[in-house]
Structure formats: C-alpha cells, structure tokens
C-alpha cells in the first residue's frame, strides 16, 4: 500500500474556509469567560519545523451547562479498564444506577472458554444498591455482606469493589473492607476509589484502575510461560472482537501474548504480565501508567503501536520484530504481512473510487480520534477536524510536552504510585546502549508523538467538543461522515449525515488488524454512499407545483 498523499495547504484543508474564522464563529455564542476558556481547547493545527504543534487545552474541567461527551471517573475505571476482564466479580458499591448503566453496554467481547475454569462474570451486574439508611449510617456493613454473598453464590477467584459518588462523601472505607474480606475469604479482594466526581473525565478512572491493578494483581504469579517473543498488549479492550483479530495475527507471527489490558482478559494474565519482555501500548491515554510502572519495577520497556489501519498494523508488527532482533521473527512478520495484505488491498482498491475525497470528522475517546485517521487515509478520505473526549496534552502534542504539563488541582487528587525497582525481579530487557541503538534505528521507546503532528496544517483540533460546537461544525462543513458516540449519533443523522460510533462501532467490527481494516472500508463505503440519505424530500416537496387540477375545469 503506497503512502497516500497528504495535503498541506491550508486553503484546501478546510474546504477553502479560514479555520480561524470558523473558530471565531463557533465561540461567538458563548459568554465571554466561556469563550476565553474554550478558545484554548479549539486550536488550528500548525506543524512547526521540528514537528512541534500548538498547545491545546485538555484534561481540564468541562464548563457546566455546555453539553458534552464526557463521562465520569467510575465509568473510566469500572466500565473501561476493568469491564473487559471476565473472571473478576466487579461489585459497584453505590445506588443502583452506576452498576446498571455499565452492565454490558460497552461490547467487550470475551472468550470465556479460553480459561480453564470457564469463569465469566461479564454478563452479570453486581451492586450493593445502597439505600438511604446506608447513606445516613454508612455502607460498609452492607458492602461486607455483599462481598460475602458474592463469594457464597459465585466462588470467584477475585472480587473488586468500585466506589461511586456517595461512598466517598459518606466516608466508607472500601479498601479496609476489602482487606478484611480478603483475609477472611482467602481470595483476592481489592477496591477502587473511583467516585464519579474525581478528576475531570473518565481519564481519572483509567489512572485509578491502573494503580490498583498494579498494586493488587501484577506480579502475583512469576510463572514464565512457554513461547517466544513474549509481549503484553495494553489499552486494547476488545470492542467488537478487535482483540480477537490482533490475537490471530500474533499467533500467526509466532508472538506470545502474555496479557491484554484488558480485552478478552483474565485476572491471571495480569498477575503474570510482568514476565513478558515488551509492553505494546494501543490506547496511550488509558493505560500508559501501567506500562510506566512495569518498566520501573520489572524492567520491561514499552513501545507505542497501533493496530487500527492495515498499514499501521504492518508497521506495528515490524516494530515488534525489530525489538526482538531475531531474523526468524522479522522474516515471519514480513511473510504474514505479505500474506494478509493482498486481500486488504483488494477491498481497499475496490472501495477507494467511492470513498476518495470524502470528508470526515472524529471526536471520540482518548486515542481513537487519532488511530482511526489511519483508516480514513487508507480510504483516501480527508479529516477536516478531530478531537478527543478525555485525552491529555501528550495525546495531542506528543510526550515531548510532558515536562511542561502543569498538574492542576483536579489531577493532583489522583494518586501517583511510588514505584521502585523490584529487588529480585527487576530485569532490564535491553541494555541502555541497546535501547539507544534501536531508538536511533527508528524504534522509539516510551514515546508517543500524539495526534496533532499527523494532522495537516489548518485542520481544527477540538478538545472536549460541546454540542453547540459540533452543531456549528456540521452546519459549516456538512461532512460526509461524522464519528463520535451514541449520545451524538442521532442529532447528526437527523441532518442527513451518516454518523459512525467509534466507541461501540454501531454493533459492528472488528476494525483492528487486517480483517478489521477490510470491515471498516466496507462499512464506511456503505455509510458515505448509502442511498438513504437522499430520501429526505418527498416528491411533492421536490416539485410542489401542481401539474393538474383536481376537478376538471
């Protein structure tokens, strides 16, 4: 697949419109203070000579009343990171809603029969269903009983407890209850203080999830698995079967997957994941903390990969092969790519004539708005504007800006674990010299360049986009496709513009890997070329003039 040409002239990037005036128009409706705040989060992209990009405000509070996409800390912790693990009984400690809404709604697929014990608690919702008496007198007693009942009914190997807003406010100590029940039951029981009000978005919940999994699970099992080229895949949640496709490719390449965080995962895999030799990061935002901590404590380095897009998949496989420096693996990876690509290329060249030149916008997540631009490029489509829902500056501008990110009060409240080298188990997988040598040869470690350096000059990058702003974007540009989540979907489609959900994939997928790319090409082709968008006008609305009178003259 040839590298598609990237347009870099501002004039043809935004349909000839001046991005600054689009921005001004968008913010003009806001009260002055709000406009000033949002102006920092709506940025016209410019790539400097060293690849540096403008500063974008992100990971900051949403303005009350603006109507946005974000969810809460609990959603990021229980829903996103821990949700896809099948064999933990996840108890939501709080009123019923939080547990109910996060029950099966994220489409994390799992292969329960892959574990010997066959445990799968994902189709279940467990909650303490707090009532007003617990709000008044405290909920620890009920939580203790609930953990006991979960054990009596389900005999799981692990139970996790997730705190919701009122739990933090009334001061229930979920961690103390978990410790007590862990001692009593003899299984792993641990808690997450992921109250919804913490942080400014789901992102705080990801961090808390990372911390607790690292603290309570990683490193519990030192068994070194059989197999060559042992890796962990981090930040892949198996929406619509993405992880299954990536697993298929790894297996074909002879790469041993120790653990995925956390698509199609078992808690046993987390416990053992420190024995792998390389961490691969898909979604940098939600999972980089675990990778950083594992490197510090156990010595396995991490690299950024992306399995969204056929070319990106091939590149990611090549990176892995280069890391292991084994000619046999390098050869095998090339053979797999050569075997997979013709089918991909066939679908791509078949769809390309119908998708080329179409215009897309993506406002989603903390990595998807970046990753999916790969697939749109492969379809010959232009991305006019993109933005994340809950990402931080490093996800936009690259990790090079990490030292300059100011930690505000909302982030300071999220615990940073103090991690040290493990006295016996720390084992650097590569010497500093080797790391340097590989980096110079084009394999950067602990590096993510972010979304903006890959977007053309003049495109609009919008963080935490509001309903008003997306309305203006749609009205101004009438894009051929708009990508976001379920809450945005139908307002967009009412306007006759197809809207692709990039959280749930509209119940389709997988879109990762080679087969996923083919699925995505076909799906976008279906959407941007569908006839249904042309049916908006009835014949009498198209031509209202009367051709004859009802009664004969």
């Amino acid at each position: 697949m040839a590298e598609p040409a990237r347009s870099n002239t501002i004039e043809n990037v935004l349909d000839g419109l001046n991005p600054e005036s689009v921005k001004t128009e968008m913010l003009s409706r806001y009260p002055t203070k709000v406009a000033r705040k949002r102006a920092k989060q709506v940025v016209v992209n410019r790539i400097g000579p060293d690849g540096e990009v403008p500063v974008i405000g992100s990971n900051i509070r949403t303005v009350p009343g603006l109507i946005g996409q974000r969810g809460c800390c609990y959603a990021g912790c229980k829903g996103v990171v821990l949700g896809p693990t099948r064999d933990i009984v996840n108890i939501t400690h709080g009123p019923i809603g939080c547990g109910f809404y996060s029950w099966l709604t994220r489409r994390n697929q799992t292969d329960a029969d892959a574990s010997t014990d066959g445990h799968n608690f994902m189709p279940y919702c467990f909650s303490t269903d707090m009532q007003d008496e617990e709000i008044i007198f405290g909920g620890e007693k009920k939580l203790r009983e609930a953990i006991q009942e979960a054990y009596d009914n389900f005999t799981p190997k692990a139970i996790a407890v997730f705190a919701t807003c009122p739990v933090g406010l009334i001061g229930d100590d979920v961690h103390a209850v978990c410790r007590e029940m862990k001692d009593k039951l003899g299984i792993n029981v641990f808690g997450f203080s992921c109250e919804g009000y913490k942080g400014v978005s789901q992102s705080a919940g990801h961090h808390i999830a990372n911390n607790q999994i690292f603290k309570h699970v990683v490193g519990l099992d030192d068994t070194v698995q059989q197999g060559d080229y042992k890796i962990n895949l981090l930040g892949e949640y198996n929406i619509g079967g993405d992880a299954f496709e990536i697993e298929r490719i790894f297996e074909k390449c002879g790469i041993t997957l120790v653990a995925t965080y956390s698509g199609n995962s078992s808690i046993d895999q987390f416990a053992n994941s420190h024995t792998a030799d390389l961490n691969l990061i898909m979604c940098h935002r939600s999972i980089n903390y675990v990778a950083e901590m594992m490197e510090k404590k156990y010595g396995l380095p991490w690299i950024k990969v992306n399995f969204i897009g056929a070319r990106a998949t091939a590149e990611s496989l090549r990176k892995i092969a280069r890391y292991f420096e084994d000619p046999a693996l390098i050869e095998r990876v090339e053979a797999v790519i050569a075997e997979e690509m013709p089918a991909v290329e066939a679908v791509r060249s078949e769809t390309l004539p119908r998708t080329e030149g179409k215009r897309a916008m993506l406002f989603v997540g903390g990595s998807r708005a970046h990753h999916y631009q790969e697939l749109f490029r492969e379809l010959g489509m232009k991305v006019l504007s993109a933005g994340y829902e809950f990402a931080h500056r490093d996800d936009y501008e690259g990790r090079r800006v990490l030292p300059s990110i100011k930690v505000d009060a909302d982030s300071r409240n999220i615990e940073e674990l103090e991690v040290e080298q493990d006295p016996t188990r720390y084992r650097p997988r590569k010497s500093p010299d080797k790391i340097k040598q590989l980096t110079e040869a084009g394999l950067p470690f602990s590096e993510y360049e972010g979304m903006m350096p890959e977007m053309p000059d003049g495109t609009l990058v919008i963080d935490d986009i509001s309903q008003h702003e997306s309305d203006i974007m749609i009205e101004t540009f009438k894009p051929d496709i708009f990508c976001a989540g379920i809450k945005e979907k139908y307002a967009v489609q009412k306007q006759g513009i197809p809207m692709k959900q990039l959280h749930s994939y509209d119940y389709g997928g997988p879109y990762a890997g080679f087969r996923g790319a083919m699925n995505f090409y076909r799906e976008i082709d279906r959407m941007v070329n569908s006839r249904v968008w042309n049916y908006l006008k009835a014949p009498w609305q198209e031509s209202p003039e009367l051709a004859a009178t009802y009664a004969w003259d």
Binding site: V63, A75, G94, C125, Y197, I486
Partner: protein, 459 residues
C-alpha cells in the same frame, strides 16, 4: 451459556443485588422532563450521571436525547454545587435557549445537601433567568426508589411549579400517562380525541422521542406539553392518572394544590384496564363512547377469543416496572395465561405486592412474586421450573437464550429492537399488538419445535 454461574440453588441474599430490575431515579426525571416542550433536562451531579442517562435513553429511543450537567468536580462536592449550577443556568440559556430548564438532583448533590430552590432563587436574583423562561427542579436521590420514582417526582414537580388554581374550571381533563412510550402517549390522546374530550397530557414525549428525519435537527422538537398547558392543569375538570407508581404523586399533588379531583387507574393494558379507562373518561367528561372505540374493543375481543387456545395455560415470567407489571399480569390472567414469576426492582411497597397477589389469586399454579427483586432470582426460579414465555426489557434476552424460552420485549430499556416508540401497547389497539407479539413468539416456537408430521399450516 451466557449466565453460566446462575444455578437453581437459591441462597438468601440481603446485601447483593445481581442483575437489577430497575435503575436510578434521575433517568426517569430526565425522561419526564423531555415531555415538556422546549425543555432541557439538567442533571445536578457529576458528568457520569447525565452521560449514562442520555446514553441509555438514546439506545432505547434511537433519537437525540439532550440534557446538561453541573459537571461536579471534587471541589464542588466539598464546597457545594451552587457555583456550578449557577454557571450552568447562565450558559444553557445563552447557548441553547430552552423555554425551561428542568433540574434533577443525583445521589451526589443529595448527599451533600444542595438546596436547589435556593440556588434557583439566586439565579433569578442575579438575572440569569431570562424573562418568560423557567427553571424548575425535582429531588431524585438515586438511593431511594427507582427510575419510576424519578419519573413520578419530575411529573409532580410540573404540578408544583406550574399548575394554577382557576375558577371557573375549564372543560379539559388532565391526563398523566405514566412512564410509557411516546407511542402510548399518542394513543391515549387519540382515544380521548375520538371521544371528543379536550385534554392536557403531561408529560408528553410523543413527537419528541419518536420524531421524523427531515434533514434538520431541532434541539427542541415540536412535541411536549407547553408551560401554558401545565399552568391550565390547575383549572381542569378532573385528572385521570395512569399507573399509581409513576403518576399517582402528580395527580394527588394537583388535587391538593388546585382541588382538581383525580382518578388513578391501572395502565390501560388489555381489555379490562382499557374498559375502565374509557369508562372513567366517559363518566368524568360526560360523553358517549364513540362507535369506533367499541369497534376496536370488539376487534381485541375477537383476537382473544379466536386464539384463546394458544394463550390458555401458558406459563409466563414477567420482569417490569410496577405499573406495567400489574396491568400486564391482570391482562394475562384475563386471557387465561398463567403469570407465574413476577419481579420488579422498584420498591413499590406492600400495597402493590398485595395487589399483584390479588391479581393472580385464581391462577391455578404456584405464583412467585418478589418486590423488590432482581433478575438473578427470577432466573433461578426459571431454572427450578421453566416458563413458556418471558416478558420484560432487553436484559431478559440473556435468560431467554440460555433457557431457550420465547421472549417479548416490553418495558424499559429496550436496547436492541425498534417499534416500541412508534407502536403503542396501550388501549384496545395496543392490546391487539401485544397479542400479536405473544402469538408470534409462541407460534414461532411451536412451528420450530413441532414434528414434521405434526407441523401445521393453519393455526
């Protein structure tokens, strides 16, 4: 197996809810508020609440569901949410220009004790509420009741804020439809309209959450009860409220506040409940029942009689909200089906439980009732002794598949099918639609399971 850890051995649970048959109050308040024309619901809590509620309502209706949030952070949770709500009110009126903002609370703001009327008063004093616009509120602590309670509370708040006593009374009858589909609200209005009765229906989500695709997006669709109408409810001739759990509070509040006499009925599901609804309307309004309704009634009865053999003796398991559960149970009993397992997650009280018990007293089978209960227990009952048909929200499909039982989606939420927002299940016609669904499910199963020699062409 999807629910592979569910066994028939029932161990008593007091603290752990597994697979709930309810959700929390605020989502019901949000749904009710969407039934006011030009209203933007507002969640006074952290962002997760409104994100979850909007997502769930959107998945159920496949329609835009707009709402705003106070976006609490840790600071707001410590110092109170007043600053957030004031800022939200200002931004909402400036940017989104609704007629009314309907604020509901959450477990967060209830636990810290934010005083919403005081905050609204301050917004007004600060000039943040434009002339002719309104901010109303209801208290919906998530740790009390369920989504049905939240709906009831927001509906009652419409009365508290807007209803104005008026003498002499007007001719219209107030109708409170309950936590039902937009299509059901439309059907109720159709029935009253063919009876020639002037009505004000509130809340009214018809033409709000089942709107057309026109090429333009309207943040405030054409449907919904207007503020003007809500004010006039106080001068209504009477109030007919459907469903004790969802509509009782508002009906009684209107009675207390404006002396508008109220009649609280079952949801008109099936023949008898619809009869009582139509008859009540007839008496209260002093009109005759038109021939077209009698015709529809006859059609419903015709289907019941013609297909009675397929209903008779069928064991049914139902999970639903109290008003739906009671009305459906009575309907099933009336056509000689056997509703044997009845669960609602809503803590609907002893009276409700005895009403359910009374409704099934003639069913010649053991009937298990759990109020409040969960779907895990319901599934355990099925493991002990199966049923022929399941009725409930989408989550029941996991049980339906594991146990290979025909399943009809009814209630909230329905996340995987369309139709509920367009086609009613209330009234005589709604009854016919329900029967069609029962028969489709039962007869498809019969066709699938019959032997080749016993396979029937005509049924």
């Amino acid at each position: 197996m999807l629910l592979r850890h569910t066994t028939e051995t029932i161990r008593e649970r007091k603290a752990l809810t597994v697979n709930p048959a309810k959700t929390c109050q605020p989502i019901g308040a949000m749904y009710a508020a969407l039934g006011i024309h030009g209203c933007l619901p507002h969640s006074h809590g952290s962002q997760g609440c409104y994100a979850y509620h909007r997502s769930t309502l959107t998945r159920h209706y496949k329609e835009p569901v707009m709402a705003a949030t106070s976006a609490f952070t840790e600071g707001a949770s410590v110092f109170g949410g007043q600053a957030n709500l004031l800022q939200a009110i200002d931004n909402i009126f400036t940017v989104y220009d609704p007629e009314v903002i309907a604020v509901h609370t959450t477990c967060l703001s209830e636990t810290i004790g934010d005083d919403i009327p005081q905050i609204i008063g301050k917004a007004k004093a600060d000039g943040k509420i434009p002339d002719g616009k309104y901010v109303i509120h209801t208290n919906t602590p998530s740790y009390v009741g369920s989504h049905v309670t939240g709906f009831a509370n927001m509906t009652k708040s419409m009365v508290d804020y807007f209803a104005e006593p008026s003498i002499p009374r007007g001719k219209q009858i107030n109708l409170i439809p309950g936590f039902v589909e937009p299509a059901d609200m439309e059907e109720i209005k159709r029935i009253t309209s063919v009876m020639g009765i002037e009505t004000i229906l509130f809340p009214d989500t018809a033409r709000v959450l089942n709107g057309p695709m026109t090429g333009t997006y309207r943040m405030y669709p054409e449907g919904g009860v207007t503020i003007e109408e809500l004010k006039r409810t106080g001068g209504g001739m009477a109030t007919v409220a459907l469903g004790q759990a969802a509509s009782g509070a508002a009906a009684r509040a209107l009675d207390v506040k404006c002396k508008t006499p109220c009649h609280i009925l079952d949801l008109p599901i099936g023949l008898h409940a619809t009869d009582r609804f139509v008859d009540t309307l007839r008496r209260v309004a002093g009109v005759n029942v038109p021939e077209c309704l009698e015709f529809e009634r006859g059609q419903l009865l015709d289907v019941i009689a013609d297909m009675h053999q397929y209903f008779h003796g069928k064991r049914v398991g139902l999970v639903g909200d109290p008003d739906q559960l009671l009305a459906l149970t009575r309907f099933l009993v009336s056509i000689d089906m056997h509703p044997v397992y009845l669960v609602t997650g809503t803590p609907a009280g002893k009276k409700f439980k005895s009403a359910l018990r009374e409704a099934v007293k003639d069913v010649p089978a053991e009937v298990k009732i759990q109020v409040p209960g969960d779907m895990f227990l319901f599934h355990q009952w099925i493991k002990q002794q199966p049923v022929d048909l399941l009725i409930g929200n989408t989550y029941l499909k996991y049980i339906a598949r594991d146990e290979d039982i025909p399943f009809i989606r009814h209630g909230f939420p329905i996340l995987d099918r369309v139709g509920h927002s367009y086609f009613p299940t209330l009234g005589y016609r709604g009854g016919m639609r329900l029967l069609e669904k029962f028969l489709d499910a039962l007869l498809d199963r019969k066709d699938r399971d019959s032997t080749e020699s016993g396979f029937e062409l005509v049924m």
